[in-house]
Amino acid sequence: MTVPWHWLAPAFELAPKGPVLEVGAGRADVALAWARHGRSVLALDLDVSRITTRRPGRMHARKGDLRTLRPRERFYAAVHAHNVLQFLPRSDFEESLRRLAAAVKPGGLLALTAFNSRDPLAQAPEAERMSFAGCDQLLALLEGFDLGSFEVLFRFEGDVLEEHDPDGIHIHGQAHLVLRRHGGAPDRAKERWPIPGPRAPERNLGVGLSVRGAFEEELFGRPGAVDVVELMTDSFLYPPHHREMERWSERFPVLPHAVTLSVGTPLPPDETVLAGFARVIGQAKAPWHSDHLCFSHVPEVDTASLVPLAFTDEMVEVVAANARRIRELVPVTLLLENIAYYFRVPGGKMDEAEFIRKVVERADVGLLLDVTNLALNALNNGYDAQAFIDALPLERVWQLHVAGGERYRDVVLDTHSQPVPAEVMKLVEYVLQRAPVRAIILERDVNIPPLEELLSEVEAARALFRRYRR
């Protein structure tokens, strides 16, 4: 099974009543899940020996493949074909796809995962005997079948990293679609693919450190030294570091934090990167993940830093659209963090607090409040920090960041190079009294002292946290 489960699970709720078909079922994970949901299921595969014999009575397994399949037309509430279409010879591809589509009853679902032309196998000698198709090609073929229209409920196309025997680590170019056939009950036809909103975390995580290379091995060897660690999601997307998040999560509660999603870039996020985020964040078993309310790159330039957005309604919509796509593909609550900024982007129509509130509510995300950034912005831009806090959607503030900055000419910069100043800790206390904060993370990027020194800072924050979070 190579499709992330959360890219399929909503189908259980959206499909009309009726039996389900899975072709090229393999171990029949999908079919088993449907059977456990009380559906009658037929799982078809050339090798049914891999399907567990301890299956519900309503699940049937039969030997066969797509080419010999003669499914009953307009019969199934859902038809699944995942990572099997590529094994069809090109001469059989179109007809097989038509048969699958025809088997879906009106209002029913068709879930397909195909290898696209970016898959490494497309360059292999055996590619001649295989079929590769992207989402657009699949949709164009379906449109030409004269079977009525199919509505796209969920779509993904990108590279997906996988690791399993016998291939080890490898990448697939993948096109994944969940479609709804036109017709069926009118009220059900209006149901959309669900995108979970932010879930308020139930338990306190405590106080911890954002992990940096200077002390990562030492900290890893001391489970319990901090309540929670924050790890940079972006660092663990690719081999050989692609299992690091999992390694850490076995020792500490982990909060994945990123710097490269660039939610403020007015373009759709890279789906391959989001698939990587989904995989890595899944390893962390975290209650939320986070990135910054900013842009970091545009197609021509990577700033490798966090650049402020124009405080406009247009940017609110940009962030909301990008956050929606992130939430679709990464089914863990997303928190956005306020950044330190040293100039206002032209065109702003509102103040920062209003912008943050609008974004958080429109994008339906949580807020990671960087108290140091807030204090520096207040100082650099001449506003009252507590009044700013009061204007924020505090009910969605579940995590805080603290660090120490440095003065440079006429501004104080968020350098993460000094101990957390006392005035920042006072603001932390102010927030703890008003917001349901579940975790505080101390950040230190440069001028990093011995771990013991950082831990004593953590301890001080921990004492404050416990005063308000018993």
Binding site: G168, P239, H297, A304
Partner: protein
């Protein structure tokens, strides 16, 4: 698209000192390349004389530090930092769109660019700089390679390694003799249950060359072991050491500098 145009102009101003200078010189004409409103154009020019310059210096220094900090240790220890910083500044100007993740094997892009930039480096550049850069680029590419090959679980390494498309190794021009001044050495030892590798020994260069094309493991091991038969650093069983190095090269998580 206007928001994207504005962001692109800001990103260029933040990351390119040359562009900022050009905008100042031509009174903002260079910003006309972006579809900005008159108000945006005017405000950017005002910002340029204010805090944007301060922040731009931070962004530039941050990107430079980020790149430098993520260069392989071998490069950082064997190529003078001042030379690397100069070259990285040129890289940032020349390739502003290259996106890097921390620890990303995509750093090979930077290493390749630095290697190609070498002709413009000053005369005091050490002779081994080219090989250090080239070797580390290859190593990154190898570590990022995602070969597809069947191999039984009990074997420590695949029987056959498939060439990764990113590999286009040329011959190394300069192998490091053991004990030579300015030696590039690879300390090969075990720590706990894992091999600890501090780059680099010429064996690795030989392996990089050999696996630049589809190759059977054992013949390569035999050839490389024969070449380095007298190298005491590889221990008494040279073929076993070389075989282990091959296993390390193609095993995940083994190639951290």
């Amino acid at each position: 698209m206007s928001a994207l145009q504005l962001q692109t102009a800001i990103a260029r101003l933040l990351t390119s000192a040359a562009f900022r200078e050009q905008v100042r010189r031509d009174g903002g004409e260079s910003l006309r390349a972006y579809e900005l409103t008159e108000a945006e154009h005017r405000e950017l020019l005002v910002l340029l004389e204010g805090r944007l310059e301060t922040y731009a210096r931070c962004v530039g220094a941050g990107k430079e530090d980020f790149l430098l900090g993520n260069l392989p240790a071998l490069v950082r220890t064997h190529v003078p930092e001042a030379l690397l910083r100069q070259a990285l500044r040129r890289f940032i100007e020349a390739r502003p769109g290259v996106r890097l993740h921390p620890r990303d094997a995509g750093l090979a892009v930077v290493l390749r660019w630095l290697e190609e930039d070498l002709p413009s480096w000053p005369a005091e550049t050490p002779a081994h700089a080219r090989d250090v850069l080239r070797f580390e680029r290859l190593r990154r590419e190898v570590s990022a390679a995602l070969p597809r090959y069947p191999h039984p679980k009990h074997l420590p390494m695949p029987e056959r390694l498939r060439r990764h498309p990113a590999w286009d190794a040329e011959r190394f021009s300069w192998d490091v003799p053991a004990g030579a001044p300015g030696e590039v050495s690879w300390l090969y030892k075990h720590k706990d249950c894992a091999a600890e590798i501090t780059p680099c020994h010429p064996v690795l260069a030989d392996l990089a060359r050999a696996f630049d094309q589809p190759a059977e493991v054992e013949p390569v091991v035999a050839a490389v072991a024969a070449k380095h038969q007298v190298d005491e650093r590889l221990g008494p069983d040279v073929p076993a050491a070389v075989r282990e190095v091959v296993g390390e090269l193609f095993r995940e998580g083994s190639l951290r500098s």
